[in-house]
């Protein structure tokens, strides 16, 4: 924000939030800290730890599928693997991911606040997150083993199986509340704590997307909470709610599950879109194209996202009216995403583009998310989905949007904000090498799934027919390329934390949002003086041509 530099004068003598000494010190100073930045780091540690477990399970699954028949594990173990993999990746990695790490760390800074509205609640959410995560992993060591239901917990299998379904259900329940409280906190923060002058249309686009996401979290999460709780209680007490043996309707369970879980996919992607909208203008060094359209499309996605859940149920035997409405609405929800993609590409036009690592990840995001989104549109077409439902095509689709989309955006954010968060810089060359491994490995891993899915390879299959062998083989080899990339990337990031060159510059990328006007790493209270905002974000004044030939809004 090109408000006068004079307004924001950081005091070079104040210790950064990392060195800050409050009431508690040492490890307690972290575990009891209500500083949003420290909580963001706590989340980062937790989320990455669970991510590694999830990724390792994915790796083992690919190894099992390298050839038909039993390769490394039994069918039962494989079924538990994909369930745990799904639960970890969805509830522990990708839903909290960007909001809990980067939202916590940067949302208050981006709106010129000293903290979130309810700092203690924020810390409490992290403890809930940790509890839920521990419960999910606890089932590994419990007799009976982790649930083998798939992350969707479909009734009646989930009340019949002998595995520890209740543990996974309660984990998801608790994690839901953690996510919900974060959302509640962010909404209140955005409404109450914006700096003077920070009107709605002066907010950075990532704030818009965190705000839209928060609403989805608050409104949709209770539905899954109650639904999963009912399944647990049904298992425990034989109360008749969904179980067809007791007169219940298993399709109703699916409705309720997806009423949350479809909007949940937008909880995953909207913050990622916010990150992309943040990074592109910085590295193109020009203003964002279509600020309002991007801002409103976040809201539109959040709004329409709640209306399409039953596209996961096209083969479940809904009424024709249901099929028609949900297919139609699914088509419409793709439009705001399309608007964003076009606006991002247009932002490159006449820019001055620096292809630094964050930018590489962001461009890869646009490419991979487009593939994921376009395959999503195909699935939304009823007659095609009849063929595709519950096949590897779906698996391909959601890895493209979740990993290729949100995952890549998260990697971009790590490389973009790391110097600000820790005051350290990674090895840029190594980062680019890692990127290419990840990008190429990713496509080898997931593209074959799209092909074999269309040819009739069902998902959640431990074993498969010989004609699918080549695709599975390529896919597994892809996972190895991806591994190499991920290991290089995390090695590079971790190493730079310890011994990377120190960054003292406030604004190493030339960004125009508030976080680039404060110290790296920021001081405990972010700002010595609350800034007064006068301009829209992403102005890049020095780019304005001498003759006014710019198109106006």
């Amino acid at each position: 924000m090109a408000s006068d530099a004079a307004v924001i004068e950081t005091n070079g003598n104040e210790p950064s939030y990392l060195d800050y000494k409050g009431k508690h010190s040492g490890i307690k100073g972290w575990l009891l800290s209500t500083d949003h930045k420290r909580i963001g780091i706590l989340y980062m540690i937790g989320i990455l730890a669970f991510f590694f477990v999830g990724v390792f399970l994915g790796f083992l699954m690919r190894l099992e599928l390298i050839s038909p028949g039993e390769t490394i594990v039994s069918a039962e173990t494989y079924n538990q693997f994909f369930t745990l993999h799904g639960v970890i990746m969805i509830f522990l990695f990708i839903i909290p991911g960007i909001p809990a790490i980067f939202g916590n760390f940067f949302l208050p800074i981006l709106i010129g606040a000293k903290d979130v509205a309810f700092p203690r609640l924020n810390l409490f959410s992290w403890y809930l997150y940790l509890t839920g995560g521990t419960l999910a992993l606890l089932s590994i060591v419990m007799p009976g083993g982790p649930a083998d239901t798939g992350w969707t917990f479909y009734i009646p299998y989930s009340v019949r199986t002998d595995t520890n379904v209740i543990l996974s259900l309660s984990a998801a329940f608790i994690l839901g509340f953690s996510s919900l409280l974060t959302g509640l906190n962010f909404i209140t923060t955005v409404h109450r704590l914006r700096a003077p002058g920070m009107t709605w249309f002066k907010m950075p686009l990532s704030v818009w997307s965190f705000y839209a996401t928060a609403w989805v979290q608050v409104l949709a999460t209770p539905i899954i909470a109650i639904t999963l709780m009912l399944v647990a209680i049904e298992r425990l007490f034989h109360i008749g709610i969904f179980d067809p043996a007791l007169g219940g309707d298993p399709v109703l369970y699916q409705h309720l599950f997806w009423i949350y879980s479809h909007p949940a996919v937008y909880i995953m992607i909207i913050p990622a879109m916010g990150i992309v909208s943040e990074i592109i203008p910085v590295f193109a060094h020009r203003t964002i194209f279509g600020y309002k359209f991007i801002a409103f499309s976040s809201i539109a996605i959040a709004l329409f996202g709640s209306l399409v859940w039953a596209h996961h149920m096209f083969t479940a035997g809904m009424s024709d009216a249901g099929q028609l409405i949900f297919s139609l609405l699914t088509m419409i929800v793709a439009i705001p995403s399309a608007i964003k993609v076009f606006n991002w590409v247009a932002t490159l036009y006449k820019g001055s583009i620096d292809l630094a690592t964050p930018m590489l990840y962001v461009l890869a995001f646009i490419f991979l998310f487009s593939i994921g989104g376009l395959t999503g549109v195909m699935q939304g077409v009823i007659s095609i989905d009849i063929q595709l439902h519950d096949t590897a095509f779906i698996v391909g689709h959601f890895h493209y949007v979740m990993f290729g989309g949100t995952g890549f955006a998260m990697f971009a954010a790590f490389h973009y904000w790391m110097p600000k968060m820790f005051g350290k810089m990674y090895n840029r060359k190594l980062a680019k090498i890692a990127f290419w491994f990840i990008f190429i490995g990713f496509n080898f891993l997931y593209f074959p799934m799209l092909v074999m899915g269309w040819l009739g390879m069902p998902r959640r299959y431990y074993d498969y027919l010989p004609q699918f062998h080549p695709y599975h083989l390529i896919s597994t080899i892809g996972s190895w390329i991806l591994i190499i990339g991920l290991i290089i990337m995390f090695y590079n990031l971790f190493k730079s934390l310890k011994s990377g060159p120190i960054v003292t510059e406030k604004n190493i990328w030339g960004g125009e949002t508030l976080e680039w006007q404060i110290d790296s790493p920021p001081i405990h209270e972010n700002f010595t003086e609350i800034p007064v905002i006068e301009e829209r974000p992403y102005v890049y004044k020095d780019n304005e041509p001498p003759v006014e030939k710019e198109e106006t809004v």
């Binding site: 409104l219 949709a220 409705h255 209306l307 809904m318």
Partner: protein, 97 residues
């Protein structure tokens, strides 16, 4: 936004609350009485209608939504909208089966 705005004062006096309470009791009596007579499919409609009026009274008066800033009402409408729309869409399946 002014950080120091502390409290918006709500209407005082006990009178209005007692009145609302009496109204709520009356509505309860009404809904029980109506349930006694057989009006077919309208039973559930009237019962829900009366319940909604009661809920509105509690929200507006007891919970001060009426005197709170507009944004609270907007929020409440968003939440209600979400529930109602889920409801309608769900019945797009069930009522045509």
């Amino acid at each position: 936004m002014d950080k120091q705005d502390i409290n918006t004062e709500h209407s005082h006096g006990y009178g209005i609350y007692v009145l609302v309470w009496l109204g709520l009791l009356a509505l309860t009596g009404l809904t029980v009485a109506v349930a006694g007579i057989n009006i077919g499919g309208f039973t559930i409609v009237t019962a829900l209608l009366i319940a909604s009026v009661k809920a509105y009274l509690v929200l507006a008066i007891f919970m001060h939504l009426r005197s709170e800033s507009k944004i609270f009402t907007v929020f409440a409408l968003v939440a209600a909208f979400f529930l109602i729309i889920s409801f309608i869409l769900l019945f797009s399946d069930y009522s045509f089966q």
